[in-house]
Symmetry: C2
Subunit: 451 residues, 2 copies
């Protein structure tokens, strides 16, 4: 997407023409306004935020970075906070409370209505990353004994404040979720029809529980192509909804976590440039240390064969080529296995199918790589002669075969013992493959060259 050009707006600020600025802003998309605000100095930002038309200022606020949100909250009056919290969707208030420093949290809670305060506290008590912690309570609930006419009237009266009105949720006297009805269906039906007769009340009504993990919620929404999914409590009472825009954020967050885990990083939710150096170090050093220490195994294998390596020229130079190729081959297989698991394309019970497939792929790749390596050594007149070339090529074949088998099985094994497969990715597998392929390499060399 192209960068937006806000120069004209900045000129208006410099000229001090805030009334024209207000007019220009009122014609802009709220996301763009937030982007523009984010680029301003804090003093100016606050001034511009305050002149925003009342009906859009809360939405603009919800699109600001949490840092800027905190800054605004810390500078506006109690009355303004009260108004803002009232206008924001509840899930955005909860996000805000989770992000800002403690003293601001106190101010926000103090200035929220008792009902909002109670709800915020309830939401904060749901486990992190659960449906309860990400839902909003701004949905249209309709009693299932209403008629279409009454329902539309109720939506007209109360719907403007709801996060989505496109799917309405039908409940009974005890707030149990009985069915859903699309706004479109309401519009198309006779005014006299009863909701309970026309609502979707499939046996398999789709909903999630407050305690469900957000990843599961995302799965459900994706699987059923929903715009929002209802959330019920332990007694099956409707307590909220999760909308698709939040689902997009969750999917992005979970994907990032996988990328980071697969690169031997502790997952972090912060933007790269905003993360302080000591946090970056903390997220990286653990795995680096573990992997370095475990590479000691590879080192000691080499150490054991150092005499042989010193005697036979050409053997040592091939070490990084064999281990590197093995590592890359294993990395390919583990990435495919981890992603196929994450997307539900394979399951634990498919382990043999996966293994058999990888063995065939590995055998073909191994033969090609071994042959190419042989040619490479011949063409480059590598030291060591024909016998060394053959040993190295054979070792490469074995390395690829082992790497692909380990690469595809380890993620499945991780899943079996309930470790996140993404953690068992590249670096861990490389370290294992390095040791094993060197053992095979040296064993071959010892058997055939030291006779």
């Amino acid at each position: 997407m192209e960068e937006k050009n806000f120069d004209y707006l900045r000129e208006l600020i410099e000229k001090g023409d805030f009334s024209l600025l207000r007019h220009e802003l009122s014609e802009m998309n709220e996301v763009d306004i937030a982007e523009f605000l984010g680029e301003l100095d804090h003093d100016v930002m606050l001034r511009v935020f305050r002149i925003l038309p009342k009906d859009i200022s809360a939405e603009v606020f919800s699109y600001l970075e949490s840092e800027d949100q905190g800054d605004i909250i810390s500078r506006i009056t109690d009355t303004e906070i009260n108004k803002l919290v009232d206008d924001l969707f509840l899930d955005d208030v909860v996000d805000l409370v989770e992000e800002v420093p403690a003293n601001l949290v106190t101010r926000i809670l103090k200035n929220a209505s008792p009902e909002t305060r109670r709800l915020i506290n309830t939401y904060l008590n749901y486990p992190e990353e659960s449906a309860g912690s990400i839902m909003t309570n701004e949905m249209v609930e309709l009693h299932d004994r209403l008629t279409v006419g009454q329902a539309i009237e109720q939506i007209r009266r109360t719907g403007v404040d709801k996060e989505t009105i496109y799917t309405c949720y039908c409940i009974d006297n005890s707030r149990h979720l009985k069915g859903t009805i699309d706004l479109a269906d309401l519009v198309f039906h006779d005014n006299d029809a009863l909701l309970r007769d026309i609502m979707d009340d499939d046996k398999q009504l789709i909903f999630v529980k407050t305690t469900d993990d957000q990843e599961e919620v995302a799965e459900v929404v994706k699987h059923y192509d929903l715009l929002a999914v209802p959330v019920v409590d332990t007694e099956n009472r409707l307590v909220g909804i999760v909308t698709i825009d939040d689902i997009l954020d969750i999917i992005e967050e979970e994907t990032e976590e996988d990328f980071e885990k697969m690169a031997a990083l502790l997952p972090s939710e912060d933007e790269y440039l905003k993360t302080p150096v000591h946090i970056l170090v903390k997220n990286r050093i653990g795995w680096l240390l573990v992997l370095m220490i475990s590479a000691t195994l590879t080192g000691s294998i080499i150490q054991n064969f150092e005499d042989m390596l010193a005697v036979i020229t050409g053997l040592t130079a091939a070490i990084p080529i064999i281990t590197g190729t093995g590592g890359n081959a294993g990395n390919q297989s583990s990435t495919l296995a981890i992603r196929a698991l994450a997307l539900g394309e394979i399951e634990l019970k498919d382990w043999f199918k996966v293994l058999f497939k990888e063995i065939r792929v590995a055998a073909i790749c191994g033969v090609i790589l071994g042959a190419a390596n042989f040619l490479r050594m011949v063409v480059l007149h590598n030291p060591g002669g024909m016998q060394v070339y053959i040993i190295v090529s054979l070792a490469m074949f074995c390395a690829v075969l082992m790497a692909k088998m380990i690469g595809c099985m380890l993620p499945l094994l991780a899943k079996l013992v309930k470790i996140d497969p993404a953690v068992i990715a590249g670096p861990v597998i490389s370290t294992m493959v390095d040791s094993l392929s060197l053992l095979v390499y040296f064993a071959l060399a010892k058997a055939f060259l030291l006779r």
Copy 2:
């Protein structure tokens, strides 16, 4: 998400009670029905598909795997195909035509209405992965001179066949996109209001062009929290919309591509278990060969120093530990840089900020790793003595420093010269880091140990 249990439905099939089965299916969600059909043998699947209530069979069909779709198309009559193509959303028909074998394409086109056939051909002509190739033409278009009452009447009459009616698109006589209006706003406004007076017609009306890349389309929808985005042709005429369910698929597809590229794989759209072995080999062998050949550089560096390695005990064993740690450190930095670029968190102009941050992180990690390595060698009584320990630890510090600098800069450089940063990931960087860190290692060893 739990697996659905379809045993009861299977029993009904075995008993031959298809009328009860039909009733049960009519109460189920279309996505679940498709999942159930996908598990049946092809003969049974066709039989069950045929008894589906007419109003849901096209939707169920759209959720089937393309393989199963092809199978059904190949077995049903021309009349049935005609009906099915008519009932499907146009983007689903286009997907179908792109997936099934050529002889089935002919049958589908033959049995489509002339108008549909023309549209399919137009869509197929848009560049692959462009907005034009993924859009659908089933949107609600309203002339901007209509009143709210007339608009609602028109939606009632024609809306049921539309992919979404929640956002309606206002056009003028020449089909130019003039604004959008939410169904919710229609419902809340007086019947006499004119659309042109109440529609959203921001200066920055949000739309994409038919030729825009699908990744860009996804960015727009995500950025502006939209449920659908309008697509216009080169003359700004409204030709289609892309809905958020397709956006979710695109995001998933693009993420998978990044995972695959970063693991030195050619991207593939097929599910793992369904991809034949020779395709898997094809997607993997290219990069493996390139990386193996380029590892020759590392090999020849070792070869040049083989005499020194043979003389000084303890040097060779440290090779994989230094290169491995360097590779892991570089991999961390490159993954963060690639993802931050993909998510728009950093841009080319931030290169110095990124580099400076990585240098500080690398310095700290390098000192910790170097010290840990020194301890490790002392504790394990590694051969070579104090001098070797110091050289190896120093070399490790340098390797981490170089790895993190290269790891963060190479993706930016790739972006600068318009190569996909994801391609310049782990394996490529490891190969570079391996060579450089060995050069430093051996230079240090030569300078201090061979005096």
